[in-house]
Amino acid sequence: MVRFCLRRLLTLIPVTLGVTFLLFSLLYMTPGDPALLVLGPEATEDALREFRREHGLDQPFLVRYGRFVYNAVVHQDVGRSYITHRTVASEIADAFPVTLTLSIGAIFFATLMGMIFGIICAVKQYSIFDNVAMVFAMLGIATPVFYLGILLILLFSVHLHWLPSSGFDTPAQRILPWIALSSVSLSIITRMTRSSMLEVIRSDYIRTARAKGQKETVIIVKHALRNALIPIITIIGIQFGHLLGGSILAESVFSIPGVGRLAVDAIKSRDYPVVQGAVIYLALAYVLINLLVDILYTWIDPRLRTRYR
């Protein structure tokens, strides 16, 4: 088990290198001179040249990439913002916890409500609750994060004045972004829980449990849910990854100072070091989540555990 985890952790190194290389190539092709964008059109030719020299922009592509990797590995330094002049590390240190709170809160909400709804739907199949929940799930999957976000602001901030429409500092400010970001995942988790539970409920060992007079709640939670859990966890893992992507949009709608917003703003202002840092952090978080899901499988399913011994 430990060896399996270590081996998976080691694959992070080539993936990180690959992601930085991909990103470097994309930024290298990006039109627009960062020197001109940062210093403005009135800057003299000397100042532009000095800026490019200072930030190594006059160097060939591979030298720039090599230097970036060297600095990152040896000095743990991923550069400095062209615009705010703060280190990229401190920019991300400010923004990353925000994004993490946003997406963890959203996946927690989606998982909790999704599994509860899914179980009720499966136990009471074709009931009114089941039908209504499935209609909402269909709507939820088709609604873009940014649209739902604006609608929530319209209803709860503009008309009802219950909740603030932007920011992420107080608990009240967090409710709308969490709901907006989690709606797609909530719908998918509900559907997955429902279909997975329905499959298990029909199996023989559930009938056996009923036949021996086991209590219904114990049957549902202990016998059915535990066996239905694997596909649900897979989908939660995938959804957590999607949430990280979706958080970029939620952050934009609710003016939340997270990594996604940082990345988008930096892309627009050609602040390359910040783009690199932000995207690499998001990619790393994404890969780590996938790794965690893999480990969780083996923990939940003893059949898989023996395979990796």
């Binding site: 690959g18 992601v19 990006t30 088709a142 940014f146 604006i150 319209l154 992507g245 979706g246 892309i267």
Partner: protein, 285 residues
């Protein structure tokens, strides 16, 4: 219209699809959307860029079915023209992803060994960036415009296709009937064209249908962030972004383009789910 032979696979699939009411509804909506996009200039009551500042911020009425925006442009007409962007980017981006991703996945599965390793590790790297973020980065590096938007959305979706195609080609080439065909002396080309491709077309078609929805969502998201189609050309996501500032007083400006996105995605999901059930009778009932 195609009239497939009775008892052919296609005929049976269409028959099963016809019984699924939601899928038929989805297909009908999509056909309507496509017709709207093609005949936009004939259907739209106004041109998408016609400004009439005297009529700005008009609520929905008989003259302007969905009202007018901050420049006095007819929102109904802009949504009709917006269907062009969504359908074009959706279809072409997914075709791009399907063809290039499919070729990569198929060659990875077919050649195996080192080539498989190299291709799939590259795909892993693409997949370790959240898709929307990858699309944002590509869109930014290519610059704005419809073609660049298509490439960005398509490339971001490419690794998924490579994986799906590789997976199904691998499963099918291990099946006994492939071995049987080989024993009977069938050539590689015959096996691939006659046996492998037809049998892995179902997951690819289902994946593509669902993917078009994702592509349309990504297009809207990119335009919403200001990295997609540039104004004044209407795009649903861009219209949403532009209306944000007026949501307090003129909510109809926001609601209409969002509904357009939702209906399109829902129709594609209905059709995709219906196709999945129709193409694989073993699955579900």
């Amino acid at each position: 219209m195609i009239f497939p032979r009775k008892n052919s696979n296609l005929y049976l699939t269409l028959l099963r699809l016809k019984r699924n009411r939601l899928a038929v509804f989805g297909l009908a909506v999509l056909v309507m959307l496509l017709l709207t996009a093609i005949f936009a200039p004939r259907i739209a009551p106004y041109h998408y860029a016609t400004q009439n500042l005297a009529d700005a911020f008009e609520a929905p009425s008989g003259k302007h079915y969905l009202g007018t925006d901050d420049f006095g442009r007819d929102i109904f007409s802009r949504i009709i023209y917006g269907a062009r962007v969504s359908t074009q980017v959706g279809l072409f981006a997914v075709s791009l992803a399907m063809i290039s991703g499919g070729l990569l996945g198929a060659s990875a599965a077919y050649y195996g060994g080192r080539i498989d390793g190299i291709i799939m590790r590259c795909m892993d790297i693409f997949m370790s960036i959240p898709q929307i973020l990858l699309a944002i980065a590509i869109a930014a590096s290519l610059g704005p415009g419809l073609l660049n938007l298509t490439i960005a959305v398509g490339v971001a979706a490419l690794p998924d296709f490579a994986r799906v195609v590789r997976g199904s080609v691998l499963t099918i080439s291990g099946q006994e009937y492939i071995e049987a065909a080989r024993c009977m002396g069938a050539s590689d080309a015959w096996i691939i064209l006659r046996h492998i491709l037809p049998n892995c077309s179902a997951p690819i078609i289902v994946q593509s249908t669902l993917r078009v929805g994702q592509a349309i969502l990504a297009t809207a998201a990119l335009s919403f962030l200001g990295l997609g189609v540039q104004p004044p050309y209407p795009e649903w996501g861009g219209m949403l972004a532009a209306s944000r500032g007026y949501v307090r007083d003129y909510a109809y400006m926001t609601i209409a383009p969002g509904l357009a996105i939702m209906i399109t995605i829902m129709a594609l999901n209905f059709l995709g789910d219906g196709l999945r059930d129709a193409m694989d009778p073993k699955l579900k009932r």
